[in-house]
Point group: C2
Chain length 187, copies 2
DNA sequence: GACAAGGTGTACCGATCAGTACATATCTTG
DNA sequence: CAAGATATGTACTGATCGGTACACCTTGTC
């Protein structure tokens, strides 16, 4: 049972689930897409839900890595980095394969707060808020708890609108709004 | 073919789709829930998709009616009304049956921008943005186009976070953020 | 090369999916 | 009350769902 086969499955399943949705993607489609047999899949993951959870954990890591790394590349101070996050988002929105946030979609299909998929999605958002808070602290701003929550709202709103109104780039508005908010949180 | 039966079907289907999701709700479940036979359903709607579209159109009307009416009740000037929207949202978030925004979820399950369900969801958000713009105009603010888009971002972000972090009420943060934004858009 | 162990593919399971055929019931109009 | 039309319930269709039984095939070890 090669671990690489498992990784390959998770990576390809991640792409299909992200593009097509969770309920809309059957295990048979994954077999066709990955050329991995169903038996092997169920050797690695007891249920479809377990596979989904694995893809979400990979996505969490990949997405936060991308966002943070790109924001750091585009900035030179913590305060700039907060704003640069929205430039990174803008790049993401422009990708052809952009189809909203995987965790918003996951929590849309698995709505029960007790559901593990919902819980993993909530944790992802919490980690992003923590990232904003740490940046705001480094930038020497005040009320960073509140500020980071507000920035998170603008980020999530931008993703939702980018998905629904593909002709608009909401990251520009979001970035400007964040600028104004930061000014109200200076020490 | 009574029109009231049709309305009854749409109303009950709306509740079930909202609570359980679209792909997760089979027509047989709707039969069990509404006590309306499948034959009758398919007399009123050619496909499940048509029924979903009908529920979304009803939801659009119901939700905007609620939001606007409640915001007006809680305010006495256009500027106050903008802020009062977030008090109305707060009330909505606190309802037990609150399960995020039906249109965010619809566009999560029907991601193709060309899909009618996606289009109806996009239009719903556009109408809400127009409402914010009209309020901002009445309030005598400047750059109301940009401002209304920013307010929309905060509203959508608040909905997403209210759904994922049920122990938090993001409408408070959103409202404060809107206050700060309005100040930057004064004539 | 014999043999066990474990990964793989096929072909299948009952359940459920969206949608329909058809027979029965109910209502409208003479 | 009779006849035609419309609404309804049951019982079904082929397709697909998540998941599994089982035969096959590769691999390491002796």
């Amino acid at each position: 049972m090669s671990a690489s086969k498992r990784d390959e499955l998770v990576q390809k399943a991640l792409k299909v689930f992200y593009q097509e949705g969770f309920h809309a993607t059957g295990m048979d489609k994954l077999v066709a897409e990955t050329k991995i047999s169903k038996t092997s899949m169920y050797k690695h993951f007891r249920t479809k839900e377990d596979l989904i959870l694995a893809t979400l954990r990979l996505r969490d890591e990949q997405f936060r890595n991308f966002m943070i790394r790109r924001a750091q590349e585009l900035s030179s101070t913590p305060e700039e980095e907060i704003l640069a996050v929205f430039d990174a988002l803008s790049e993401w929105f422009k990708e052809d394969k952009f189809k909203s946030c995987m965790f918003i979609k996951a929590s849309s299909e698995y709505q029960n707060p007790e559901h593990p998929i919902h819980a993993v999605s909530a944790e992802h958002k919490r980690l992003i808020k923590v990232y904003f808070k740490e940046l705001a602290d480094k930038a020497g701003l005040k009320n960073t708890e509140e500020l980071s929550r507000k920035i998170l709202l603008l980020k999530e709103g931008a993703i939702v609108i980018a998905h629904l109104h593909r002709d608009i780039d909401p990251s520009i508005d979001a970035k400007e709004a964040v600028k104004a908010l930061i000014d109200t949180h200076r020490a």
